[in-house]
């Protein structure tokens, strides 16, 4: 572990020069992505968190465009920013949680979480620095377009694709079943707000 840390520290001067040759759009996009994802985690208001997460998904879609994955960029916008986040926002508004209702955690908990996440970051980075660049650049034209992806999806991955349908069916049945109201629902907390949601 110490060896990994010292290896990380040794590449310190490299770390600064690493950013100099990067194209500006990539730098701006990465900065915005990290900033907005930090805001997702730290924001007190859950609605602000949802909006920041939508913005994060937009920037990740822009990364996909930079990476020549046009189909994934569009699907990411439609599925994540369009469907999943609207679902989150809808539940948030439905449960009326838009105000700050979260109790404050103790500082120790935050420190422990920061240490855990930071050591995760450190270990992955250090492990990558040990293994180094193992990926040969082999760009292929039009790999992210619908035609190329559809060919792969419906030939080699056709069985997982069909299983996806079963998964969706199960998820749909589960969500409907969970959301259905039972008749005499035992309420753990005696209702003082009146009304049953």
């Amino acid at each position: 572990m110490l060896a990994l840390i010292s290896l990380n520290a040794k590449s310190g001067p490299n770390f600064i020069t690493m950013f100099q040759n990067l194209p500006i759009p990539f730098l701006i996009l990465s900065f915005l992505t990290i900033l907005s994802s930090l805001y997702v985690v730290t924001s007190k208001n859950p609605v602000h968190s949802v909006l920041a997460l939508i913005f994060t998904f937009f920037t990740i879609s822009a990364h996909y465009v930079l990476l020549n994955a046009q189909f994934l960029a569009v699907v990411n916008l439609i599925v994540y920013a369009g469907a999943i986040m609207v679902l989150f926002l809808f539940v948030l508004m439905l449960l009326n949680l838009s105000k700050e209702t979260e109790p404050v955690k103790s500082n120790w908990w935050g420190i422990a979480a920061a240490i855990t996440a930071g050591s995760m970051l450190l270990i992955v980075t250090a492990a990558f620095q040990v293994t180094g660049e193992a990926v040969a650049k082999n760009p292929v034209e039009g790999i992210g377009l619908v035609k190329a992806l559809g060919k792969v999806l419906f030939t080699r991955f056709v069985v997982p694709f069909e299983l996806t349908g079963i998964l969706f069916l199960a998820a749909m049945v589960g969500a409907v079943l969970l959301g259905k109201r039972e008749k005499n629902n035992a309420v753990l907390i005696p209702k003082e707000e009146g009304g049953n949601s």
Partner: protein, 108 residues
């Protein structure tokens, strides 16, 4: 053609660092926050970090399989969000809060 000829300027290592930072932020959120909705959102963030890395490797190696995997991850994330939010609504209906620390009262 490449939009910015990104292969000449951005290495795969930059995407690895970016994805690791995003994943760590999501991990921090899952450990730190108590609101179950924010927890689910942080899980989505971690999934997106993995998606970005899959796409980067797929593009750099010229292999479309990684992007198909991203497609499947999106499908699983959608199903997970639907079922997770349904459970969340159920928990809220029973306990009037979405605090996950309250859920240690669950009995099997």
């Amino acid at each position: 053609m490449n939009l910015l000829s990104i292969f000449n300027q951005v290495e795969i290592s930059h995407y690895i660092y970016l994805s690791t930072v995003l994943f760590s932020i999501g991990l921090f959120g899952v450990l730190f926050r108590r609101n179950a909705i924010i927890l689910l959102m942080c899980i989505e963030l971690m999934l997106n970090a993995v998606n970005l890395l899959f796409t980067a490797f797929s593009t750099y190696m010229g292999d479309a399989d990684g992007q198909i995997f991203v497609f499947f991850i999106m499908v699983v994330a959608a199903a997970e969000a639907a079922v997770g939010l349904a459970i969340l609504v159920l928990v809220y209906r029973n306990t009037r809060k979405t605090d996950v620390s309250f859920l240690d009262q669950l009995k099997g």
